[in-house]
């Protein structure tokens, strides 16, 4: 929509001006990017609020999934990606089950998180999981107390996963390196530790 219509008569220009709400920070590409990655019809949201009503995080925080859905339609990239509430979704999919427009708001949040990560905006706990998996193949690695318990149960000290078969680890690292997630994770964690120190 053009912001000025270029009519020679300034009176008519004022009278007939477009009255839509304009935001200078709107990025239509953002809505499209979210739609492509999330593979859900995210632009169809009519703001009924069923999602926020179903959300276990909403009653105890300022996180409103409906707000993120609106930001998505309006292309408010900056506002979406820098909001710390983005990380309060437990991905329980209650909103997705109840959405009357068959949208998956959870998947919209997930793709927004992906785009935030690409810009280096991501809580470190997510990256620590990446580092743990790069190291051992497990997000929650084994420990000595548990090893002792496993032996008592007649199980092998380490499960038959990458813990017992480290020869499978290079393949996992290959995948993580292919997408450069380990490098990005190390970089952001180091930066945040520097800030904290």
């Amino acid at each position: 929509m053009a912001r000025t219509k270029g009519y020679p008569d300034p009176k008519l220009e004022t009278k007939l001006r477009d009255r839509y709400l304009y935001r200078t920070d709107s990025n239509p590409d953002f809505s499209k990017k979210v739609k492509d990655l999330s593979r859900t019809v995210s632009h169809m949201c009519f703001q009924c609020g069923t999602c926020t009503g179903s959300c276990p995080s909403a009653p105890r925080s300022s996180y409103r999934i409906r707000l993120f859905m609106r930001r998505n339609v309006l292309g408010l990239e900056e506002e979406s990606l820098t909001d710390p509430d983005l990380w309060l979704c437990t991905t329980c999919y209650s909103c997705t089950d109840r959405c009357p427009r068959d949208i998956a708001p959870t998947d919209v949040i997930m793709s927004m998180r992906n785009f935030a990560y690409q810009r280096g905006i991501v809580p470190v706990n997510f990256l620590k999981t990446v580092q743990a998996i790069y190291q051992s193949g497990h997000g929650v690695p084994n420990n000595d107390v548990n090893r002792a318990a496993r032996v008592r149960l007649g199980l092998a000290k380490d499960p038959p996963t990458t813990h017992s078969h480290p020869e499978y680890l290079p393949g996992i690292r290959q995948i993580l390196d292919h997408y450069k997630v380990k490098a990005q994770a190390d970089k952001i964690v180091a930066e945040s530790e520097k800030k904290g120190a």
């Binding site: 329980c92 999919y93 068959d102 992906n114 990560y117 149960l153 199980l155 499960p159 292919h178 997408y179």
Partner: protein, 307 residues
């Protein structure tokens, strides 16, 4: 006739609650399900943490685990909702979307299979197997069924009241899954009743445990407040224990209760048992066989009722 499956363990069951693993293997054997270890499997990877960071790497990592089972020529059985979300969903998506499958295979091409002595890399996702949660195999009459579970019980859990927590990623989103109703499902209750216990309905049964989506790591107090709401509702229904089918929910309920005590000053003391552990008890396994001493919240009040 016994059926064979590749057992995908995940992380929390083998590395925090090994009783889930040992009970899963020995209990399912008694009802005609043979589980074989999936050698070289990794984290599923954690759908909250990895999915949030990069959905492409999430799919490639899950696909690698699926390919290991494809090579064994067996369907995957698993015992964690988080793993179900990763493994089942990626298997489903890659089977039905050519573009996603091609992208994943492009990466897997570069991954070598250590079990292949010729060194030829052949980690291609072919889409030849299915993925099942152990609990749906227990319920499926074609594989096991409620009757068989009931027949396998040697020590019925008579006189105990048990609340069931389904967890999120097994059933939801329902449009992609095949379990039907997600507002008030009752089929795990049938499996609990088969053990001789009384399944109890409570408020907001289908609410999330609070751990998922990386929230437990990001904002622990927020996550615990959701858990606390579950505890209030379970307590109100006077249950003796809560059972779930997801070790991550178990971790949140079990260790979470200790953290709730630290942060909010309230101790619920509600025993938390994975359905596998419950089945193990009902089939006569001893609490030490199930490593119930590793639970943060003592299970003794519940055990006293049945032993």
């Amino acid at each position: 006739m016994a059926k064979d499956y590749a057992l995908f363990l995940g992380c929390i069951a083998p590395n925090r609650y090994p009783g889930c693993e040992s009970a899963g293997i020995s209990c399912s054997k008694k009802v005609g399900i043979n589980l074989h270890p999936l050698k070289g499997a990794s984290c599923c990877p954690a759908p909250g943490a990895f999915g949030s960071i990069d959905l492409n790497v999430f799919m490639a990592m899950a696909a690698r685990n699926i390919v290991l089972a494809e090579k064994m020529g067996m369907d995957i059985a698993l015992e964690c909702n988080g793993c179900y979300k990763s493994i089942w969903e990626v298997n489903h998506k890659l089977k039905h979307n050519d573009d996603l499958r091609d992208a994943v295979n492009e990466v897997l091409k570069t991954v070598k299979d250590p079990s292949d002595p010729s060194g030829k890399s052949d980690m291609e996702f072919k889409g030849t197997i299915d993925v099942w949660h152990l609990i749906e195999l227990y319920y499926d009459p074609k594989v096991c069924g409620v009757e068989k579970i009931r027949d396998s019980v040697t020590r019925p859990l008579t006189g105990t009241r048990i609340g069931v927590h389904y967890g999120c990623h097994l059933l939801k989103p329902k449009k992609e899954r095949h379990f039907g109703d997600t507002e008030n499902p009752m089929w795990i209750e049938e499996l609990v009743a088969a053990l001789g216990a009384e399944p109890v309905q409570y408020r907001k049964k289908m609410q999330c445990c609070g751990a998922g989506g990386g929230v437990r790591g990001y904002d622990l107090v927020h996550s615990l407040d959701i858990t606390n709401e579950k505890m209030i509702n379970l307590h109100e229904a006077k249950v003796d224990a809560v059972t779930e089918v997801c070790p991550f929910c178990q971790l949140e309920f079990d260790r979470g209760q200790i953290e709730i005590q630290e942060k909010f000053g309230k101790f619920w003391g509600l025993p938390v048992l994975h359905y596998n552990e419950l089945l193990g008890l009902a089939q006569g396994m001893s609490p030490t066989d199930l490593a119930l001493d590793l639970h943060a919240v003592p299970v003794d009040p519940f055990l006293k009722k049945i032993l």
